[in-house]
């Protein structure tokens, strides 16, 4: 055997000597992937970037220091104001971490690996950064615009399902869906939902479902996973196929916290595959309740209509009775009686009234006549007095005498007589005749 031929162990030992000597302590930055935490307490993962990856192991005893939380930056020595979260809590697939340690060779597998001593969170992973960049771009293209979102059909009947034929997603979706809706046809367009081929297969399935045109809605679902697992749904081609789909797309990818670009582009987003079934179909109990309500309303409406008709019939019958000739006669008779009754009541009242008026007028007449008589009596008395005062015989009582000629003329002048003529003299209590002896005018 030539001396330059080495055994595997020898080669490995030489590599170990070189490698471990060359990298006794090294800092390396990369994105965490393939993270496993077996029961031993040691943590295994890979760090990767676009071109390469390296296996890493973080032994349990090294983790103890980190689990207390870090109060200084192990790289720069900067002392923090307060302790930072433990790297253990931020270590997850997709996270970009800064690892310090030594390179060792694991002879049993012929692998070199980084034995981690210190670990530091480097913020969001590169995938996350790529996600943000794409998200910005697609947003500018209007992929997420609310106004282009279409409504999902209520109680969908024809559903194109795009997911893996086996797995939790289809199981959850169908299990929950079985309790909902009034019965639908679901056509599975199988596509890998993980790995390198996934994005292309999803795009093909979307195109097929769209071209076939049978479905009312396309449902794109996948179970939960790491950012890396869900990455196909962040591929631009998938988002574009969702964007261009003529059929509304409902996406339910990962868990509640996972939001992929396909989710954001879809017409509706479900938090999980089960939630997608909830958005697609109303619970069967709800449909049954709707049906019960409609049946109740039908019975009430029919009963109401019958009752209305019965009421109307009763009213018509009543109206008919009211209009019958015998009822008309009876009403007329009744009216007549009422009028007679009224008449009987009013006649004596009116007579009494007229009597009262008559008596009043009679009294008034009587009074007026009396007053008139009195006035005339007074006037008569005054006149009588006046006449009495004017009586030519009245002065005779006072001793005066009235002389008259033989022919009866009253003597007002001595020239009416001549001596010797007979004259008549009237005194108060008798008459006498005399002969004029002398006339003496004065």
């Amino acid at each position: 055997m030539p001396e330059n031929i080495l055994t595997v162990r020898e080669l490995t030992e030489r590599l170990r000597a070189n490698l471990e000597g060359a990298f006794p302590f090294v800092w390396v930055r990369g994105e965490v992937t393939n993270l496993t935490r077996p029961g031993s307490g040691h943590i295994y993962f890979s760090l990767k970037d676009r071109e390469a990856q390296i296996q890493c192991v973080w032994f349990a005893q090294q983790q103890k220091r980190a689990s207390r939380g870090q109060d200084f930056d192990p790289l720069t020595g900067e002392v923090y104001d307060g302790p930072r979260p433990s790297p253990l809590s931020v270590l997850r697939n997709g996270a970009t971490m800064l690892c310090a340690g030594r390179i060792s060779v694991y002879a049993a597998r012929g692998q070199y690996q980084l034995v981690v001593e210190l670990l530091q969170d480097e913020g969001r992973g590169m995938l996350a950064q790529a996600f943000e960049e794409r998200k910005r771009k697609l947003m500018e293209l209007g992929y997420f615009a609310v106004e282009r979102k279409r409504l999902l059909p209520y109680d969908a009947k024809r559903v194109a399902l795009i997911t893996s034929a086996a797995g939790a997603a289809i199981h959850d979706f169908l299990t929950l869906g079985a309790q909902r809706g009034s019965g639908a046809q679901i056509c599975l367009f199988p596509a890998s939902v993980q790995g390198n081929a996934a994005a292309a297969e999803i795009v093909t399935a979307l195109h097929r479902a769209g071209a076939q045109g049978w479905a009312q809605v396309i449902v794109l679902i996948r179970g939960g996973g790491s950012l890396e697992d869900l990455w196909p749904f962040n591929e631009e081609a998938v988002a574009e196929a969702v964007f261009r789909s003529r059929i509304p797309v409902l996406a339910g990818i990962g868990h509640e916290v996972d939001v992929t670009l396909a989710d954001m582009t879809a017409d509706a987003r479900a938090a999980t595959p089960s939630h997608a079934a909830q958005l697609l179909w109303p619970p069967r109990t709800e449909l049954a309740q709707r049906l019960d309500d409609a049946c109740g309303a039908l019975r009430r409406a029919a009963a109401g209509r019958l009752a209305g008709m019965e009421r109307s019939l009763q009213e018509q019958t009543k109206a008919l009775r009211w209009l019958s000739p015998s009822r008309c006669l009876a009403r007329l008779r009744e009216r007549l009686e009422r009028m007679l009754c009224a008449l009987e009541k009013t006649l004596p009242q009116r007579l009494a009234g007229a009597g009262r008026q008559l008596a009043q007028k009679r009294d008034m007449l009587h009074a007026r006549i009396l007053r008139s008589l009195e006035r005339r009596e007074h006037a008569l008395a005054r006149l009588t007095l006046t006449v009495e005062n004017a009586d030519p015989l009245a002065p005779l009582k006072k001793g005066y005498a009235l002389a008259s000629a033989a022919n009866g003329d009253i003597l007002r002048s001595v020239r009416q007589v001549a001596p010797g003529q007979e004259i008549h003299v009237r005194l108060d209590n008798g008459r006498l005749s005399a002969i004029v002896s002398v006339v003496r005018p004065e």
């Binding site: 034929a165 939790a168 019965g183 679901i186 709707r290 109401g304 008709m309």
Partner: protein, 87 residues
């Protein structure tokens, strides 16, 4: 695909039932028409009830350009497969 007559029957009958209720509540319909509508409503309701009792989703798979019967495998794969599949 039979996308017109059969599949929307439940919803159409429900709509018809609602229309009948509305008509009975509002329109001044003759008695005979009301009764025939009521009977039609009952028929719709019993149809929908039967549909709901028997409702299930039919699952097919798109293969070689046509729909074929499909039953998902019962065994569940983990939804969060842990590592081991990186290139």
């Amino acid at each position: 695909m039979n996308e017109t007559t059969e599949e929307n029957l439940f919803e159409r009958k429900m709509t018809r039932l609602q229309d009948i209720v509305d008509a009975l509540e509002s329109d001044d319909l003759p008695l005979e028409k009301s009764m025939s509508l009521y009977k039609e409503g009952l028929t719709c309701a019993s149809f929908c009830k039967e549909r709901l009792e028997k409702a299930h989703h039919e699952l097919t798979v798109w293969q070689e350009g046509e729909m074929k019967p499909f039953a998902p495998r019962e065994e569940e794969e983990p939804s969060d497969p842990a590592g081991g599949n990186a290139p």
